[in-house]
């Protein structure tokens, strides 16, 4: 009798019983679970294509194993170094824009004119609502060689027009600047959320101690958002290798392929357009493994250094 009571209230229930008790909750997770298995885990089976040569009429299972040939082909052709360098360059430059949202958030958080604060926050958020295709359309409307806004302006000022769309060296600036425009306001909101949890008493105490505003920002607010910075930095490390294919496809022209052909656009072309499935899967797998490794590494370092980690 006593042991029965313990069983009903204590932790000594068997695992099976505890699972049964929570069946309602499992049922709530079930649809998400099934969809994730089908569309995220079943494709993992298809990764073997990276080591296979799939001919017309063959399936993933029946395609012939060819070992590392697909990878060898990728590494030995010029495509590898070219797409790798292009992808990495975009990734690194993108990483360098990392402090901008932090600065914007600190500015917004310390602005004492409510009207300026509110309107600038709304304005800087708007680009995030605008699609990649439209954002890049705007870039093209501005940078187009003959009808672009910038070149028309240049013409009026007597400056020679610049062929932005047909030179390699303009691809990265167009990509990065449009990226800053799109994402800074959005990312600033995340830091603003973290800043809003700064205890006002702490700020008052700092004021009484004679801290200037600059000191308060540096010694009170920045440490407060440090964990958020760490986590966002880790997350961007994980995608540091996957420059946006959607964006690049928009500004890619036959004349700027030297800088605009990144791993993503390359995989799309050889896989979907040219149907070289095995080869494309191999390139994809390579990127995925590198990204995943980077993420684990960044997470590990962050855990050691700052105690904040993603998992």
């Amino acid at each position: 009798m006593t042991s029965h009571t313990i069983n009903r209230n204590g932790n000594s229930k068997t695992l099976g019983k505890r699972i049964l008790d929570h069946r309602d909750l499992y049922l709530l997770i079930l649809p998400a679970f099934i969809i994730t298995v089908i569309f995220k885990y079943v494709p993992l089976y298809g990764i073997q294509l990276a080591f296979k040569n799939m001919k017309l009429g063959q399936t993933i299972t029946t395609a012939k194993w060819i070992g590392l040939d697909n990878f060898q082909r990728f590494f030995s052709t010029g495509a590898f170094s070219r797409t790798l360098v292009n992808t990495l360059m975009v990734g690194i430059l993108n990483l360098l824009t990392f402090p901008l949202p932090i600065i914007l958030a600190l500015l917004l958080n310390n602005c004492e004119v409510k009207f300026i604060k509110k309107s600038v926050q709304t304005i800087t958020y708007i680009p995030n609502l605008i699609s990649v295709a439209v954002t890049m359309s705007i870039v093209i409307l501005f940078c187009s060689n003959s009808t672009g806004f910038i070149n028309i302006l240049f013409k009026n000022l007597g400056i020679e027009s610049i062929p932005f769309m047909s030179k390699d060296k303009f691809v990265r600036p167009m990509y990065i600047i449009s990226g800053i425009w799109s994402a800074t306001g959005y990312n600033a909101v995340i830091y603003l959320a973290a800043l809003s949890s700064v205890n006002p008493e702490l700020i008052d105490a700092a004021k009484i101690d004679g801290c200037s505003k600059l000191q308060r920002i540096w010694y009170v607010e920045v440490p407060k958002i440090a964990p958020t910075i760490a986590i966002l930095l880790i997350m961007s490390m994980g995608s540091f290798f996957s420059a946006s294919t959607e964006k690049m496809l928009m500004i890619q022209t036959d004349l700027n392929l030297g800088a605009s052909e990144i791993i993503g656009t390359y995989t799309y072309k050889i896989g979907i357009l040219k149907r070289q499935y095995g080869y494309s899967a191999a390139v994809d797998l390579f990127t995925n493994v590198v990204n995943f490794t980077m993420l684990i590494l960044a997470n590990f370092i962050s855990k050691k250094v700052s105690d904040s980690s993603l998992f």
Binding site: T36, C111, S146, N156
Partner: protein, 303 residues
């Protein structure tokens, strides 16, 4: 005395910093809004004024030809309709599947909770890639159907995690306990307690999901070849890049006056398309905005 003078100087110093902050923010605001402003005023200006570079502060020679061309373009409207349908339907379905899962995963007593969370999180950082996913969608017979755009991304792991954290942090277990004593089951707790209390995070999720649907074009590019079910973004890409490549690969400097009528029309169309295609999401934003900071804050604080 020295101490005193420092105390006196402090407000002055702060005043200077305040003005620097204000000026910096105003400049940032203008820089961000300027491209959008240019597109908007160009879309209602006389094309001749645009190409002579007179449209850069205010519209010149008000002209709605761009929107007339847009109205005549049937493809774009098919895309517009499709994208709206996919966005509404897709977002609703995502909410329906992600929210209950997030609620359940927030329960600390759930056996295997950590594993389940890891199961969903993993998909954020490692995937089969383009081709293996393509084959799954193809084998299910979804290629060239709207389902190819809706089903594969149905569970948003990122939003799932945000919502789970929100439920964990902002709704105390006692509230459910009280309801349970009144005889409420898990489902009633979810619908009658958790949902009404989580409006901020639900708003953030709706905006994220809707943006994802409205803005994505890579999936449509890969999975959809039938123009009747194609998305707006793909049509936009077509319009923008078509004319550009024709122009850019021609020669560096084509004289404006020599531009053919069709190129001029496409150019105008681009301005109008940017404006019209951005309207739905910008309209959605004010409804979401007030929940924004709270939704993100409570959703991102780690336990």
């Amino acid at each position: 005395m020295k101490q005193h003078s420092r105390q006196m100087q402090k407000p002055k110093e702060d005043k200077l910093i305040n003005s620097i902050i204000n000026v910096a923010l105003i400049i940032i605001g203008i820089i961000v809004v300027y491209p959008l402003w240019i597109v908007l005023i160009s879309s209602i200006s006389d094309p001749a004024e645009i190409s002579s570079g007179k449209v850069w502060i205010l519209p010149k020679g008000i002209n709605i030809e761009a929107y007339k061309i847009l109205l005549e373009n049937g493809d774009l409207w098919i895309g517009y309709r499709n994208s709206l349908l996919y966005t509404i339907f897709g977002t609703a379905l995502q909410m329906l599947i992600t929210t209950p899962a997030a609620f359940a995963l927030a329960k600390k007593t759930l056996p295997g909770r950590r594993w389940l969370i890891l199961f969903f999180l993993f998909t954020m950082y490692f995937s089969g890639g383009l081709i293996p996913t393509y084959f799954v969608v193809k084998d299910l017979g979804l290629v060239n159907t709207p389902w190819a755009l809706i089903l594969p991304g149905l569970v948003g792991p990122y939003n799932l995690v945000i919502a789970r954290t929100y439920y964990e942090n902002s709704i105390p277990e006692d509230m459910y306990e009280a309801a349970r004593i009144d005889g409420a089951g898990t489902y009633r707790c979810f619908v009658q307690i958790a949902l009404p209390l989580s409006v901020p995070v639900l708003a953030v999720m709706i905006l994220n999901f809707a943006l994802g649907h409205w803005n994505s074009y890579m999936n449509a590019l890969v999975y959809i070849s039938d123009d009747n079910i194609q998305t707006l973004q793909v049509f936009i890409k077509r319009i923008t890049t078509q004319a550009t490549t024709a122009l850019e690969s021609g020669a560096g400097n084509i004289d404006i006056t020599e531009l053919t009528d069709s190129i001029r029309k496409t150019q105008l169309l681009k301005y109008a398309v940017v404006v019209v295609s951005s309207i739905p999401m910008i309209m959605l934003y004010p409804f979401i905005q007030k929940h924004f900071v709270k939704g993100i804050m409570l959703g991102s604080v780690k336990e």
